[in-house]
Amino acid sequence: MELKNKKWSDEQFYKVREEVLNQWPTGKEIDFQEAADYLKKVPEHKNFSLKLKKAKEEGITLAQPRAGVALVDAHIELLTYLQDEGGADLLPSTIDSYTRQNRYNECEVGIKESEKAGRSLLNGFPGVNHGVKGCRKVFEAVNLPLQARHGTPDARLLTEIIHASGWTSNEGGGISYNIPYAKSVSLEKTILDWQYCDRVAGIYEEMGIKINREPFGPLTGTLVPPCISNSVAIIEGLLAAEQGVKNITLGYGQCGNLIQDVAAIRALVEQAEEYFKAYGYNDIELTTVFHQWMGGFPADESKAFGVISWGSATAALAGATKVIVKTPHEAVGIPTKEANAMGIKATKQTLNLLRGQRLPMSKELEAEIALIKAETKCILDKVFEVGNGDLAVGTVKAFEQGILDIPFAPSKFNAGVILPARDNNGAVRILNAGNIPFTKDILDFHRSLLEERGRYEGRDVAFQMVVDDIFAVGKGVLVGRPENK
C-alpha cells in the first residue's frame, strides 16, 4: 500500500484486517459488531476519554502507573492493588517485550514458565496471547479506565484485541513506537501499521464509541529536547486525526528544568491546537500527559521518591491532564505491586497538595514557550516541505535526511547525529543539531547557553558533557558537572 496521510477506505482497511486477525489464533475471537456492543456498555467512569475530559475541565492532573505481568489472574491482582491501595486514577496494562516484537511463540514459553515458577518471567502482560477472553476478564475485574501501554511497532492485532475487550485507550504511534523501540523496521511500515490502529479507533468513534489515543511522548526518555518530542507528538496527532481519531492525548517526558518543562507542555497544547485547526480537524478533544523522569534513575529508593515527587509537582504546575508514575524500584527492575503503589501514593500526595496551582506566566516562561514553538515550527515546516505537503511521506523523508533526529535511538532509520546537553540551569539544549533545520539565531542561542556552562565548569563543550548528563540524575543531580563543580 502506498503511504499517504489519508483516511483509509473501508476496502483498504478490511482487506488488511483479514490478514491481521489471522496472525495468531486469538485474532479469530474478534467480531466488530459484538465488540461495539460490548464497548457501548462500558460505564462512563471506565471510559478513558470521558475521564480525561472531566479532569481537563476540572483542571486536575490524574495519576496513572505502568504495570503488567504474564498471567491474567496475577495481572488482575496487580491492577486491583494499584487501584485500591495505590489510588490510581487510570489503569494501564503494560505489554511484554515479546508481544511488542510479535513473537507470540516466545510469549507462550514465558506464560508457561511463569506458571511453573510462580513469578512473572515476562516484563509485561502478553495481551495477544491472552486474547479477548483474557483481556475482558481483566477489564471486568477493575473499576477504572484501562489502556494498553507498550512499544509495539506493529500493534495491529493487539489493538484489535484490547479495544474489543473494553480497553478504551491505546498508546503508541508510527514514529514513537518505532524509532525508540526498533532497530530495523522501516518508518513506512510502522506509519502504515499505526494508521491501521488509528483507523480502528476512528471506526469505533464513528459508531459513537469514544476511544482515546496517546502517542508516546518521551521517545528514548533520555535528554530529548522539547522541540523534538513536540514535533513528533504533533505529527502523530495529525496522522491519528486523519484516520478519524477524536480524543488525543499528547505527551512529553520531563527534562527536569521547571520552566522548560512547563513551557514544553504549554507550547505543545497551543501549537497542536493550531495545527489541528489549520488542517481542518476541528473537533479534537486534546489532553496532555506528562511523564515523570524517563531516563536513568537513582537506585536509592528515597532518592527515587525525590525524583518521582518533583515530576509530579512539575506535572501539576504545568497543568498536564495526567502524569505517568515511576516507582522507587525504577533503577533496578520491574516494581513489585507494593513499590508501584508507593510511587502512586507519593505522586498523588504531591498532585493533591498542588491541586489548582499553576506556574504563573513570567518573562522567562514566555521566552521558553516562544523558543520551543519556533524550533518546532522550523522542523514541521520542513517536514511538510519535503513531503510535498503530505505529512506521512514528509515524516519518512525527514528522518532520512536528519530533519527529524531523536537522540540515542536504536533505529537505523534515525540519523542519530543530534547530541543534546544541559545548560547551566539544567534545561536540555542542543550541542550538535545535525541536520535539524533551525535558524541561525536558534542554533547560536543553544550554543551560547552551552558555552556559558562550559565556562562555569571550566571545560570545553563536548561529548563528555553528554555522557555526564546521562548519568547525572541517577547520581542524584540534574546537570553532570565535573568532580570539582
Binding site: S97, Y98, R100, Q101, R103, E106, V109, G110, E113, R119, S120, L121, L122, N123, G151, P180, Y181, A182, K183, S184, T220, T222, G295, G296, A299, H329, A331, V332, G333, I334, P335, T336, A339, F408, A409, P410, V467, I470, G474
Partner: protein
C-alpha cells in the same frame, strides 16, 4: 594482546543508551569493539564473534527477559567453535528487584564467566576484562 570484544543487547531488548556508553568506554579503554547494538539474537552475537575472532562477548540485557534470552548461549558458543570464549552479562538481568546472589548464581550456572548487578560502572568490567584477558 587479547582485546577483541563483541558487544550487544540481547533478545527483544531495545535499550540503546547504556550500549552506546559501553561502546564509548570500552573503546576508550583500548579494546577493539564490535558493537552489534540492540535487539540482537544469540546467533548475531556468535556470528560477530566468529567474524572478528573475538576474545570476549559482552551481553547486555536491560528489559528483564535476560534470563530467558541468555539460556543456552554457552552451549551454542561451544557448538560454533567458540570454546572457552569469555562470556559476561550485565544490565538489569532479570524481572524485578531480586536478591543479587541468586541471580548471579543463575547466570554462572548458565556458563557465564561473570555477571553484574544493575548500575555497575563500565570501569568495573574493564578492570575484570583486563584481568581475565591477562593484560
Amino acid at each position: 594482546m587479547k582485546n577483541k570484544l563483541v558487544l550487544g543487547v540481547i533478545g527483544a531488548d531495545c535499550h540503546a543508551v547504556g550500549n552506546k556508553i559501553l561502546y564509548h568506554a570500552f573503546t576508550e579503554a583500548g579494546f577493539q569493539v564490535e558493537n552489534i547494538g540492540v535487539l540482537s539474537s544469540q546467533e548475531d552475537f556468535i556470528n560477530a564473534a566468529i567474524e572478528t575472532n573475538a576474545d570476549a562477548i559482552i551481553v547486555s540485557s536491560l528489559y528483564g527477559h535476560g534470563e530467558i534470552d541468555c539460556r543456552g548461549l554457552r552451549e551454542k558458543c561451544d557448538e560454533a567453535g567458540l570454546k572457552g570464549i569469555l562470556l559476561y552479562a550485565g544490565g538489569n538481568l532479570v524481572v524485578g528487584k531480586q536478591e543479587w546472589s541468586d541471580v548471579e548464581k543463575r547466570f554462572l550456572d548458565m556458563g557465564f564467566n561473570r555477571a553484574y548487578p544493575p548500575g555497575t560502572s563500565p570501569q568495573t568490567t574493564i578492570n575484570d576484562l583486563k584481568k581475565d584477558l591477562g593484560w
